[in-house]
């Protein structure tokens, strides 16, 4: 079983975590100004890369806190974990 490094608790087994999809999808600044298409993209459309993906995870069966991770969707390898208030890390 894969170990995932919670930024607060350290490495824990994968079953303790739940997945939150793409990270860095901010709520629209001016929701009233959005067109139907822009709303659709905010609600339904998420990136689906093969390779590095910035995504949200939650340590559900541990500290119950959310965090972000850069994970490779082809290898499933976690390359970075970082706090929600950290900027998206740049990986060379």
């Amino acid at each position: 079983m894969q170990l995932i490094a919670c930024p607060w608790c350290g490495p824990r087994e994968e079953v303790e975590f739940s997945y939150g999809g793409q990270a860095h999808v901010p709520y629209p600044d001016d929701p009233g100004a959005l067109s139907d298409e822009e709303w659709a993209h905010y609600v339904f459309f998420r990136a689906n890369p093969k390779g590095r993906f910035a995504e949200r995870w939650k340590h559900s069966a541990g500290c119950r806190r959310w965090f972000n991770a850069i994970r490779d969707t082809a290898t499933y390898r976690f390359e970075r974990v970082y706090r929600l208030d950290d900027p998206k890390p740049v990986i060379p």
Partner: protein
Amino acid sequence: MSPRTPGADLPEHPDSLWRSPEPERSYDVVIVGGGGHGLATAHYLAKNHGITNVAVLEKGWLAGGNMARNTTIIRSNYLWDESSAIYEHALQLWEGLEEDLGYPILFSQRGVLNLAHTLQDVRDSVRRVEANKLNGIDAEWLEPDEVRKICPVVNTSTDIRYPVLGATYQPRAGIAKHDYVAWGFARRADEAGIDLVQDCEVTGFDTDGDRVTGVRTTRGTISAGTVALCAAGHTSVLTDMLGIRVPVQSHPLQALVSELLEPVHPTVVMSNAVHVYVSQAHKGELVMGAGVDSYNGYGQRGAFHVIERQMAAAVELFPVFARAHLLRTWGGIVDTTPDASPIVGRTPYDNVYLNCGWGTGGFKATPGIGSALAHTIAHDEPHPYVAPFTLDRFVTGALVDEHGAAAVAH
């Protein structure tokens, strides 16, 4: 004890069913993806529309992706009119497919039971049965004692974690042998002169305004009159190259088989609530599928705890399976959508058609989507069966919400 060796009545593997041609530099139609949907689309382009200047481009080998990895369940008992129409169209084609392809596909209409474990499941199931009947689809609601008559190995006692409160039953549903289905389509497409080009990965597209003029591949650039994307879990990789946003998320979906057993399981049993679905293949192995792994993944493998949970559910529902040995597990990559319905039809490019988002249910649709997509390409107009499944339904709000309602296990 059966006197026959399991699998003794299966046809021998053929030597060669199709050519392996070098790609030409230009085709009227280029289909990206040599799985079930791509091959079926090629077959019906030739058979129904006389369009044979066609290439099917496959980055690996034919039908080596989800077509080789699914659990082969075929049914049409979906809730909504739009879904039941396309899946029932597919089922009717399945019923004549062996004759059409001139190839054995071992289509066995042994029925499917979709179990209900909670009062809400029961209500949803009865509603779906009534909706199916209105759409002319065979469907029945069965009480637990009737479930036991059809499938005696299901544990219908009341003291289990997920008691069986009843099930929907579609007698015409069943299974087919997925490899033979792919081979049958491939053989017929090849006979019609369609080039099935393997080991040919698409690396980019040449565009001119709102048209795609060429498909760049690892075997050179191929110009195309029309392009159809049938790449299932890898759709986003292609649409990212085209700059088209598509609301699909690729997830691993795992399945497994047991060792070969004597016939014990006469039908197909699906349980949405506990995420397991089981049939017994012709050779005798139990074929089981799980729900999707939670995270996005292209790795064609998933986490072991998902299999473990699935086995726990399977053994409780089928106590007789407890001593069966697991032979192997594998994963495919399924492209899920927000409303658990496929996305088929036009794209922002005039001559590119999209066929994706079938999630966990693509196999059963194979002949149905093949014929409807071929029609769509031939007439440059979405076939009525695929017309509701546009990309822009996510903007207009005309979703076809099959989550949960149609026993879609994700």
